[in-house]
Amino acid sequence: MKRRSFIKKAVLSSFATIIGTELVFGAKLPVGYIPLGAQEPDPFKMFSKHKDMVILNNKPWNIEAQAHLLDDKITPNASMFIRNNGKTPEEINVKTWTLTIDGESVQSKKTYTLADLKSKFKKHTYQLTIECGGNGRSEFTPAAKGNQWTIGAVHCASWTGVRLRDVLEDAGIKSDAVYIGYHGTDTHLSGDPTKEPISRGCPMSKALQDETLLAFEMNGKDIPIIHGYPLRLVAGGWPASVSGKWVNRISVRDQVHDGTKMTGTAYRVPCNAVAPGEKVKDEDMCIIESMPVKSLITYPKTGATLKEGKTLNIRGHAWAGELEVAKMEYSINFGSTWTSCSIQKPTNRLAWQHFSAAINFPKKGYYEVWARATDTNNFSQPMVLPGWNPKGYLNNACHRIAVKVV
């Protein structure tokens, strides 16, 4: 093992010298191209991620944060989860990159270069909460197949781009338009060029929102390749799968988009609640739209011990899909009593909100600090798992951290 990894490293670094820095090497080289086992590039370096990020999958790349890595108000790249469905695009040329607007419900098919998009339309910047629909999947019983996300598949970065609405209106939308579908340049894991790894979309009402952007910047810089460089759709508050990466085509559809992972059970939950493990027919599954209310304690990291009599200052973020978080509470007695946290207004619609509280513990012992957000429709996070569903989506159960007073 030791020798193998040494050989791997030696080959990797000599390769890096040949074609440039390790980052360039990592970002440009399609992952599937490396014979499995021959070498394993360091994903933390390759994607500039924090060393505490957890790799769930390396083919395709699926990497999640932990609660304490998400403490920043605006999530930096280092802590942003990666959920890819296929292989990262191999060749990206910003000079020749185009975005085509087509579909049954577009007045006329139109193609824009990146320069067109940047010069023709007004730029906008929004902080947007983007959470994977399957965040929290690992807790469901019976287990749902797929990447076993715990709590770290969420981020709120600052995105800059042009409004999808402005571009769609420039191309012209017919009155029968109901949905958009995106297409990207990532490739199917099987290598089949006729298959798309993912092609989802959203209803026109979401597509035409102010905050739905065709983004080319993340936190003030070019979007990192793994997050969708050079062009990405961002639709805050909805399952992250709607925020398509490496987008080169948007189809305006006269029907609900039927691209890959739009049909069957993908990103759908039973229209009516079912018992755990129950079989659900495809036609009884409804597409997930706005994500449910949720929160995370990002400070302190779970496992804190503190001296008796000390006050514990906690902080974190809360979000509620299309809605706002109206109330934030914590409990140190497993939900027997709840105490208010202070919660800030979002910077803009669809940005997560920051909460904090100062907690005093009555005596020594083991505690769990639970956090519970309530949205403007008066829906709160459940303490147990919410409704079971076949694909393990929408687990918005309260987050908790372990604390010991000694």
Binding site: I18, G37, K59, A143, S190, D192, L312
Partner: protein, 156 residues
């Protein structure tokens, strides 16, 4: 007379040697160029692949009951799983999932219908047996106890 003939032959041989030296020099220069820039257009048909294959040794090494390359548990059916499952996706997608035989069979069916997975034939039973034996479902209840807590002293 014979001497001259001999000298001529020597000269000829010398010339041949020089030419050979020249060509081997050219060849080594070309080789160096290829080594330092394997992306030369004439080698565009993925000529870089052999660079890797040489170092793939003990591909299927097992250490402490774990197949090092994939992280899968060593048990009956391991190589059938490795050969049929890890071509398209990472073994991590297998090891992080814990499902019943029925669910694994459904997953295989889904992969065949949508992900270009081939007909597994008799291997399907071997694969599913391996998975349910080594990665059985765990009952977690409605909320698991917090485990693996890394206790530390909070300074503030």
């Amino acid at each position: 007379m014979e001497d001259k003939e001999f000298q001529k032959k020597i000269k000829k041989a010398e010339r041949t040697a020089y030419i050979a030296l020249f060509f081997s020099f050219v060849a080594s220069v070309l080789l160096l160029i290829v080594v330092y820039n394997p992306t030369l257009s004439i080698f565009e048909h993925k000529s870089t692949a052999p660079l890797y294959t040489d170092i793939v040794e003990d591909e299927d090494k097992i250490e402490n009951g774990i197949h090092i390359r994939t992280g899968l548990i060593e048990a009956d059916g391991l190589m059938t799983v490795v050969n049929n499952c890890t071509n398209c996706h990472s073994a991590k997608l297998v090891t992080q999932n814990r499902m019943s035989a029925e669910s694994w069979n459904n997953t295989i069916k889904w992969m065949q219908e949508t992900q270009n997975l081939w007909d597994l034939g008799a291997n399907q039973e071997i694969i599913v047996n391996y998975l349910v034996t080594n990665y059985p479902p765990i009952a977690k209840g409605r909320r698991m106890t917090l485990t693996n807590i890394d206790w530390y002293e909070l300074k503030n």
